[in-house]
Amino acid sequence: MTLTQHDIDREIAAEHAAYEKRVADGAPVEHQPRRDYAPYRSSVLRHPKQPPVTIDVSKDPELVELHSPAFGERDITEIDNDLTRQHQGEPIGERITVSGRLLDRAGRPIRGQLVEIWQANSAGRYAHQREQHDAPLDPNFTGVGRTLTDDDGRYHFTTVQPGPYPWRQHLNAWRPAHIHFSLFGTAFTQRLVTQMYFPSDPLFPYDPIIQSVTDDAARQRLIATYDHSLSVPEFSMGYHWDIVLDGPQATWIEEGR
């Protein structure tokens, strides 16, 4: 039996209803997806069944996980944050500017840390050899960027609007357009890999990956805001996306969290 969008829609609705009931019954809000989320089939054999073992970081401030690896000017080049300038010609697509701040749970900026992004081209194709989607590659677009956050925790990328693409999990499965982000905090416990989406994408309800975040408010935090003040005249559309890293860090202990 071919797995259809209708099958996945029902599973997504059931997971969402189960989450809403848990919260109504007093369970805490879940800011993160559960690793066991069957509507995203690849998770089925790849999530642990044992609960994680909890480490209370306040008992040992010396844990190496409370520190983060360092990155610096040597690890990036000047045009790494401009994905439209990495080849001889201009990539095809709508140019966009994506900017925001990298913050910790206390709202403090995370300075000088590495932000890595990767994305499909404007036709919805990744420059990756195993990609099977029959959309054109763009010889002027690789879709990989890096930058370091500034003293306000701010990052800034120039790129092109990625296209949505089909992904074969089920019949007519399409991913909403997104940019992958990889982030480091001041502690290794704050590591985050996620995806940024664009406002009002009609594919959101159908996509089990964004729907794996079952909390409605948490899911909204993955969607960038159109920001006219970031749009560059005669050049690009602007999107603002602030990122908040979870996970304990050493300084919280000092402040008596």
Binding site: Y40, L45, H47, D60, V64, T77, R108, Q195, R219, L222
Partner: protein, 201 residues
């Protein structure tokens, strides 16, 4: 929404995690990602292993990040893990004399990974260990674990994490002696012999 007002702490809520998906290979791994040890350093340890799913199949689309103290137990503060060439935009590799303590290695088509780093020194109350962060297609939130090296049984017995675990689960965090003087550390995401994964609070 995603413009956060830091003057209102109740609005500063975590950004959810997502899977790395299948197509990170041209973006995140970099040449020399697992060559963390400075060249010829006498405290170099070679680590290798497989990442398996719940049916025991190796994952060809996973990567691990390793992060550890130097042999004296100090936290490395050097950048330069992924040094770049400003003229070509390519990667220069590490400089071979500094120790960043951090590396990233993807599994190959056989689900196998390997890295060379320095034997970590002890910090705080813990036996020496390397912190590991696992990412894969299908994994909606990355997983933390630790690699403890075998040998110093007294230190391992006193480790605050290991002493809380039953013996079978404890063994999943301790590397074993592999061929050619390497240490073997397999990661089982699910099922029999499931690796102990950690949550920090």
């Amino acid at each position: 929404m995603t413009k956060i007002d830091t003057s209102r702490p109740e609005t500063v809520l975590p950004t959810p995690s997502h899977t790395v998906g299948p197509f990170y290979g041209h973006a995140l791994p970099f040449p020399g990602g697992g060559d963390i040890a400075p060249l010829g350093h006498p405290d170099t340890v070679a680590l290798q292993g497989y990442v398996y799913d719940g049916e025991g199949n190796p994952l060809p689309d996973a990567f691990v990040e390793l992060w550890g103290a130097d042999p004296d137990g100090r936290v490395p503060q050097s950048d330069g893990s992924m040094r770049r060439d400003p003229s070509t935009g390519g990667f220069l590799g590490r400089n071979g004399v500094e120790f960043t303590g951090w590396g990233r290695v993807q599994t190959d088509a056989n689900g196998h990974w390997s890295a060379r780093t320095l034997r970590p020194g002890a910090r705080g109350n813990s036996a020496p260990y390397l912190s590991v962060c696992v990412f894969a297609r299908g994994l909606l939130v990355h997983l933390y674990t630790r690699i403890y090296l075998p040998g110093d049984e007294a230190a391992l017995a006193a480790d605050p994490l290991l002493e809380r675990l039953d013996p079978a689960r404890r063994a999943t965090l301790i590397a074993t002696d592999g061929p050619l003087g390497t240490y073997r550390f397999d990661i089982r995401l699910q099922g029999e012999g499931e690796t102990v994964f950690l949550e920090f609070q």
